[in-house]
Assembly symmetry: C2
Homo-oligomer: 273 residues x 2
């Protein structure tokens, strides 16, 4: 089953647009877990089990695993395997933000899709469609292109105006018109920029799904995001939260606290849909 | 010692601007190596030993290791360790082309600098300086920003004109004027675009070093690159070649063939300096 159908089914089943970012920062894990041989996986497993009924996707970011070296990558793989085995209906978005020339991207795609078993990945737009084609060729996988990112300094190049459009709008336009021959493209638009979300939505129409990071720790507002970004069916968004949920408590009750925060976030999102 | 001093010393010692890209594609390795427990490392070791006297840097690209999973990352680390131990004067550029928000980039920097022991890394410009700051804060490391890439479709966004300058020139300008407070920034400019190399050189002045991929398999021309990109001292470039050297022969003589090709490439570059 293709990524978008899997996502739609998961959103319907959980009645949720919430995605939990599995970004385990070793230094922030509860003390008891830091002595484990597989601290990242143990933490993730508890978070996954506590929030699986509340989410439409899980999104591990590779950086938090790579900083632990080869063992970290092993824990990332175990995390993906665990989700696939225990919660096969929940899509896995591997947030790797890669992009290289085409011959090299084939290897990144092998890492994400064949080794980790990801349902979707994030990619940088900088090298253009021709370079990203090896990702796009995976018709059943979601290819999520960084359009307008959530960080404070996102505008340095993304907001430059070319032909009366900011560059991030050129990305939105090209991805929806030229990259999406397989119907498997999505866009990243940060929760911290609701006006930009609305503008991208107007550009690409109702069908394309946005991955929206930046709710929670980065300060994005659920109401503004929903009003700016949902399509007419009240969907079209994957709203990610990581730190606010993962570290809702630093004690032994971290999984319960994460669940409570995930319930509250899902409900807040649904209030405005 | 900082990256740029180490690079200068290595360029002087080897009389070479050549960088060998350590991009071992498992499917292309000589048959005998494919049965090894550490095929990528064994291949790299032979290439490194054969070419160490001829290069100013080695540049492993993470994609070729990630496609082999956690074991591949282990082989990447062994490769970096081997260079550092046996050839401590040769800088290691880890070509990872990452960029995420600041909090996440800290983890990628830990991977590259603390785990792998890289002397320099490549990063995407898309999220702007504010996001890349955790990399830039490593004063003694080289931060190499993708300015104008070597691929056919590079121009899709890089060539868009804003304020009468293509976006890649905004990257060149901002990196040289705003990102480079620690004097540790470099730029990627593809060998396949000598006019763009010359234009970027005029913009950023004599001091900044360019990493130039795309010689060899991608079709870049040594003479054009040298004429467009060297500074007045006949340096200022790191010219990368990977496939043309790594796969000069597919037989048991691959290391000798790689050496011969590296000699020829170094000499051809030096002919025009």
């Amino acid at each position: 089953m293709g990524f978008l159908r899997k996502l739609n089914a998961a959103q319907a089943k959980s009645d949720s647009l919430l995605c939990v970012g599995l970004d385990p920062d070793f230094e922030k894990l509860p003390k008891a877990l830091r002595d484990s041989d597989t601290p990242l996986f143990d933490f993730n497993k508890a978070i996954i089990d506590a929030t699986a009924g509340l989410v439409c996707a899980f999104k591990p970011n590779t950086a938090f695993y790579e900083s632990r070296g080869a063992e970290g990558i092993e824990e990332l793989k175990r995390t993906c395997d665990y989700i696939r085995e225990e919660y096969p209906d929940i899509p896995i978005i591997v947030d790797l933000k890669r992009a290289d020339i085409g011959n090299t991207n084939k290897h990144y795609a092998t890492f994400a899709f064949d080794y980790l078993g990801a349902d979707a990945v994030t990619v940088h737009p900088w090298l253009g469609r021709e370079a990203v084609q090896p990702f796009l060729d995976y018709k059943d996988k979601g290819i999520i292109v960084l359009c307008r990112t959530s960080n404070d300094g996102a505008g340095e190049f993304q907001d430059l105006q070319a032909e009366r459009l900011p560059i991030y709008m050129h990305v939105a336009k090209n991805v929806s018109k030229k990259w999406n021959a397989n119907g498997n493209c999505l866009l990243v638009v940060g929760a911290t920029y609701p006006e930009e979300i609305a503008r991208v939505r107007r550009q690409v129409g109702d069908k394309m799904v946005f991955l929206v990071p930046g709710l929670g720790a980065q300060g994005g507002d659920a109401e503004a995001v929903i009003k700016a970004g949902t399509n007419r069916a009240g969907r079209g968004l994957i709203i990610n939260s990581a730190r606010a949920i993962l570290y809702a408590s630093s004690g032994d009750d971290f999984a319960e606290a994460a669940r409570a925060k995930a319930v509250a976030t899902r409900d807040k999102i649904n209030e405005y849909r």
